[in-house]
């Protein structure tokens, strides 16, 4: 579990996060949602240790990252996998080499063992056929799946996903969402997903943290979200006619 306690963060004197506290649960998909510019990416990057926070605490199973020295932080990072918005695959390496990269850096396994592990992860994301292709030769959805395979290759305890569905069609988005959720449950990972895709919120939102103007405004799950009484959240979630109809149907018990 990751505990976020009273976190404040500012850039060049401009405060972006205000006293945020939230629990991100182990073995669950934890979604950080909010409008563009609300501070959700800053929150996720702060939790991931990419940004240093101004004050507060971020505890990874009781380990406070704001008090860690850089070598301790580096060790913790080996327990973290991250899926970036643009996949961030190394474009000079093939899909297989991308997935093997963390193993080559940090494991003492033989080349055969590393390849076996990479193949296992790629099979898990149904991408064995793209082993020897370069990132530029595969589609956006396949790139996302390759990035997921790379993120899980070292058996991470924590998985961060920054807008995993951006630029993907609805069907592929659903596949990626389900894949992330399956992996989260299968390996008991604490998964943190930063998104403003409402399909993802409804589909995999087991623990949702809503950020509005840098403040935590609401926390709950995808069944509680229909009736929060939070005006900002309702304006975000039920902005489209389709979601207004879905909400109405839900309230009518259909």
């Amino acid at each position: 579990m990751i505990e976020v306690k009273n976190v404040n963060k500012s850039f060049d004197g401009k405060q972006v996060l205000f006293d945020i506290s939230a629990n991100l649960l182990e073995g669950h998909a934890n979604l950080i949602i909010g409008q563009s510019g609300s501070g959700k990416t800053v929150l996720m990057k702060s939790v991931a240790g990419i940004h240093r926070i101004d004050s507060g605490e971020i505890l990874y199973d009781g380990r406070n990252i704001s008090q860690m020295k850089s070598n301790e932080l580096n060790l913790l990072r080996r327990e973290i996998g991250m899926l970036f918005q643009g996949s961030a695959l190394f474009d000079s390496l093939t899909v297989k080499d991308n997935v093997m990269f963390p193993l080559r850096m940090f494991s003492n396994k033989s080349e055969e063992e590393m390849e076996e592990r990479a193949r296992f992860c790629l099979e898990r994301v149904d991408l064995l056929r793209a082993l020897d292709l370069y990132p530029s030769e595969i589609s956006g959805g396949m790139q996302k799946r390759a990035a997921i395979a790379r993120a899980i290759v070292l058996n991470p305890k924590y998985l961060f996903c920054d807008e995993p569905n951006s630029g993907l069609d609805p069907k592929t988005s659903l596949l990626i969402d389900r894949l992330i959720l399956e992996i989260t449950h299968e390996y008991n990972i604490t998964t943190i997903i930063n998104t403003h895709d409402m399909n993802s919120v409804m589909e995999i939102g087991e623990n949702i943290v809503f950020i509005s103007k840098g403040h935590k405004s609401w926390q709950g799950n995808n069944t509680e979200i229909y009736d929060t009484g939070n005006e900002d959240l309702e304006n975000l979630i039920f902005a489209s006619d389709l979601y207004k109809k879905i909400k109405k149907a839900h309230q009518m018990g259909i």
């Binding site: 240790g49 990419i50 990072r77 991250m82 961030a88 190394f90 990269f101 850096m105 940090f106």
Partner: protein, 246 residues
């Protein structure tokens, strides 16, 4: 960001770069790749430029020193001294700042804006060390070879002038390039080039690594890397010449 902040930022990056690699095996692979990319791939441009500049220096020297009071060997002597003392170290590194420097800045800059460097950091890899150290060490390793190659091909360019024109005989040119030769000149040239190679690669890496924004900023970083490393090379050229030759 002012100049002092930039120097501080650059020093911090170099401190992070010059540390023990996370994986020696991966470092070795990167190092060999960079040796090929920066060294072997630079040989054609070094060859072309050196041959032509050697030939031009030879022609210019012959035209400007044609006098019954001056020995005919002067042309070969002046060509050799110009090539060894200045062209094959300083000018060559200025040219390579354009090729190698812009390549490094744009490669690392693109990795920065596409979050590949963030991906390395989040994995716990020292991204500066992994990306920059092999580039610096590879170019510093290759530069003595490139300088020696440039001196040789430059002198051959001058020899070509002696062979294919009637401005000077090959014998006179050969006597000239052997006249009053100091082996220390070669050492001086290589020592200077080692410093310049470090300047080119480290400054280009700094500009690439610190890019913020998109494609426009990567282009700007690449230009800044070439301009600033060229100015610093010229500054160090003056200082090193005073230190090593006086």
């Amino acid at each position: 960001m002012n100049a002092i902040e930039r120097v501080g930022d650059y020093s911090r990056l170099m401190w992070k770069t010059f540390s023990k690699p996370d994986s020696w095996k991966m470092f070795g692979k990167q190092y060999v790749r960079e040796l090929h990319k920066q060294g072997i791939n630079s040989l054609p441009i070094v060859c072309i430029i050196s041959v032509f500049i050697g030939a031009v220096i030879c022609i210019q020297m012959r035209i400007n020193t044609e006098s019954p009071f001056l020995p005919s060997q002067l042309t070969g002597y002046a060509t050799r001294e110009t090539m060894i003392l200045e062209f094959s170290s300083a000018i060559l590194c200025l040219i390579l700042a354009g090729k190698v420097g812009s390549n490094i800045a744009s490669e690392i800059g693109t990795m920065r804006i596409t979050e590949q460097i963030d991906a390395l950091d989040i994995m716990g890899v020292n991204s500066a060390n992994y990306l920059i150290l092999p580039k610096i060490l590879a170019f510093v390793t290759m530069i003595p070879c490139l300088v020696t190659f440039s001196i040789t091909t430059g002198l051959l360019g001058g020899f070509g002038v002696a062979l294919f024109t009637e401005m000077i005989t090959p014998m006179e040119y050969e006597q000239g390039i052997q006249y009053s030769f100091l082996p220390y000149s070669i050492q001086y040239s290589i020592e200077k080039s080692l410093v310049f190679a470090f300047i080119v690669t480290s400054i280009a890496s700094y500009y690439g690594y610190t890019v913020k924004g998109g494609a426009r900023e990567v282009g700007k970083a690449s230009t800044n890397a070439v301009v600033n490393s060229s100015v610093i090379i010229l500054l160090f050229d003056v200082m090193l010449t005073k230190l090593l030759l006086s």
